[in-house]
């Protein structure tokens, strides 16, 4: 593990259910992501992609194996530590998951407000700036209901990046978008991430965006079966 290693997972296995219904979802997964890299994790439905994402994202407890995230061991970590680590991550979901009652600016502010102590004026300014970077400065006061699907996902990207996270975890962010919007969102993610040195792990089975990846990991039946470096 080098100082630039953001994630180091070794021998990661995971099960769901209990007793006879217990089913293994991951088998001895090893992976390492370096600072600033843009990695795509792909594979068929049920291959375990989402499980990997939720374990790395501190949303599930690590059952077996080790995961070091930003130098912290997740196996056996206390809930409060996991919550603190999550504040250093950016999440982008398949459904944009913007808050319907908040404007685009306010949704982006939520990505900053989680870090206590950021003054209101600073948060406002950073949110407006982030919306400008994704080309939505003129939609700052719009509620999600008044934005297109692509615009909503771009706001979600701004929300994920505004707090300068060390790692962005994106789950099928282009699944519900047309070709142009999908390319737009991924390009934004890559460009803004590269400018900030943010590591990105993007789960998809959208073949249209593979050419943007520095590295492609293919997962099948809970095992990484292929690693393709493109950097």
């Amino acid at each position: 593990m080098t100082p630039d290693t953001i994630i180091e997972a070794q021998g990661l296995s995971h099960w769901f259910g209990n007793g006879e219904a217990r089913k293994q979802a991951l088998f001895d997964v090893n992976l390492s992501l370096q600072r600033g890299s843009f990695t795509v994790l792909m594979g068929p439905s049920g291959s375990g992609k989402t499980t990997v994402l939720t374990l790395i994202g501190c949303l599930r407890a690590v059952q077996d194996g080790s995961v070091h995230l930003l130098g912290r061991q997740l196996h056996g970590a206390a809930e409060a530590d996991l919550v603190a680590l999550r504040r250093r991550l950016g999440f982008i979901f398949q459904a944009h998951n913007l808050h319907e009652s908040l404007t685009a600016t306010q949704n982006v502010i939520m990505g900053l407000q989680v870090h206590r102590g950021v003054p209101e004026a600073v948060a406002d300014r950073a949110a407006v700036h982030a919306l400008g970077l994704i080309g939505l400065a003129d939609r700052a006061g719009y509620l999600p209901a008044n934005l297109s699907g692509g615009q909503k996902q771009r706001v979600a990207v701004a929300r994920a990046l505004v707090g300068n996270p060390a790692l962005v975890l994106a789950d099928e962010p282009t699944a519900a978008l047309d070709k142009d919007s999908a390319a737009d969102v991924v390009d934004l993610l890559k460009r803004l991430g590269a400018a900030r040195g943010t590591t990105t792990l993007l789960v998809t089975h959208d073949g249209r965006i593979l050419d943007r990846a520095d590295r492609i990991l293919t997962l099948e039946d809970g095992r990484i079966v292929k690693v393709e470096d493109r950097g």
Binding site: T50, L53, T54, G57, L59, R60, V83, A84, L85, R86, R87, R88, L89, F91, F93, Q94, A95, N97, H99, E100, S101, L102, Q106, I109, M110, G111, Q113, V114, E120, D171
Partner: protein
């Protein structure tokens, strides 16, 4: 409002923004809280008025000690007291004077409506036992069948009441006699009668021939200035051999009557339950609004959880919503409640009115039940699992 809440909570006022996002639902929620408030105000107003109406006749007299029959839970309840105990009480060195108090309801046919006057028979030469507003006119009661009438009695118009003077008295028939009112005082309708009337004990006995001058309903005593009431009460309890009698300070008698009316009489219990039901309705309404709101936003809450927001943040949102509903629902509730109590007070002449202490206590109660509802509603937040978002 948004800026104010943002300054107050030091974060985006998500609770406020959520509530106001759906304006129709927000208005319905506020109407629900206001309704609960009105319910509590009306019940509380009636309960308080019952208290005020109970204490009002006590304010017509001035005494230090009251002796009543053992079963006299209130001024109007219970048996009589033998006058001999008045004479016995006068043997105590601190007792300076005593008066038998007679009490019964006198019907008055007012044409379109019969009214009933709670009538006190008093000694017309003892003004010290009467409230100053009556004491000055007391001597007039020495005239047979003379009365001092409650000008606020139900069924008595202001104009008619205002015209009552010694020069222009008002006469009416009751109990087979012609009663003549020469003066008035401010009483008011209560739950047991439509108003009050003062007559002399002799006139009272003429109106109620079956009653005996030797058996008033209560005995009032006055003590020399500086005398310790509790000590005299204790002495009288040993001095008077009838141990079944209730010998209490006048203030205690009034408070015991009040407690009896509020806790043991059906009316008091019913109004008490009315207040409780109002509070429960408010709790249920606020809980329903908040828990629905939480359920509607579970996905957003799960997203915030994933982003690293902790339980205090979510509790803060729900409590913010509870406070907004409680405070904003209280304002229309207060306005409507005040209007209803004022209208009811005018119609019934009961002392029904909004008081500052009542408004404050209902406001505090509203905020408290809103916060309790909010705290209960936050249990649904546990269902917001960020891992389910993927």
């Amino acid at each position: 409002m948004s800026r104010l809440l943002q300054a107050l909570f030091g974060r985006l006022p998500i609770g406020w923004l959520q509530l106001t996002h759906n304006r129709n639902r927000f208005a319905a929620a506020l109407a629900g809280v206001a309704f609960a408030n009105v319910l509590v105000f009306v019940q509380l107003g009636i309960m308080n008025s019952m208290g005020a109406a109970t204490l009002r006749p006590y304010a017509l007299f001035q005494a230090d000690i009251m002796i009543s029959a053992g079963d006299a839970n209130s001024l109007t309840d219970g048996g009589n007291v033998a006058r001999q105990w008045l004479l016995q009480a006068m043997a105590d060195p601190d007792v300076t004077d005593g008066m038998g108090l007679f009490l019964a309801n006198v019907p008055w046919d007012r044409g379109e409506k019969d009214i009933s006057l709670s009538t006190f028979g008093v000694d017309p030469v003892k003004p010290a036992f009467l409230n100053p507003q009556i004491a000055g006119d007391l001597a007039m009661l020495q005239v047979q069948d003379a009365a001092i009438l409650d000008r606020l009695a139900r069924g008595l118009s202001k104009e008619v009441a205002a015209a009552i003077r010694p020069q222009t008295p008002l006469s009416f028939e009751s109990q087979g006699r012609t009663i003549t009112a020469y003066a008035t005082f401010a009483g008011g309708g209560g739950f047991g009668g439509d108003g009050y009337m003062m007559v002399s004990d002799q006139t009272f006995l003429s109106l109620f021939p079956a009653r005996s001058s030797a058996a008033p309903d209560h005995i009032l005593l006055r003590l020399r200035p500086g005398a310790e009431v509790a000590a005299v009460v204790a002495r009288l309890r040993t001095l008077i051999s009838d141990t079944s009698l209730r010998i209490r300070s006048y203030a205690d008698a009034a408070q015991e009557d009040l407690r009896y009316q509020q806790t043991r009489r059906p009316t008091g219990i019913i109004f008490g339950f009315g207040v409780l039901i109002g509070v429960l309705v408010g709790l249920v309404i606020v809980y329903q609004v908040l828990s629905t709101d939480v359920a509607d936003h579970l996905r957003e809450y799960a997203t915030f959880k994933a982003m690293g927001y902790g339980p205090r943040f979510f509790l803060g949102i729900v409590l913010e919503e509870a406070l907004v509903l409680g405070v904003m629902g209280f304002i229309p509730g207060l306005i409507i409640g005040t209007a209803i109590l004022t209208a009811m007070g005018k119609v019934t002449t009961l002392p029904l009115a909004m008081s500052g202490s009542m408004a404050l206590s209902v406001f505090v109660g509203t905020v408290v039940f809103s916060v309790i509802s909010g705290a209960i509603a936050t249990r649904r937040l546990a269902a917001a699992d960020p891992a389910d978002l993927f």
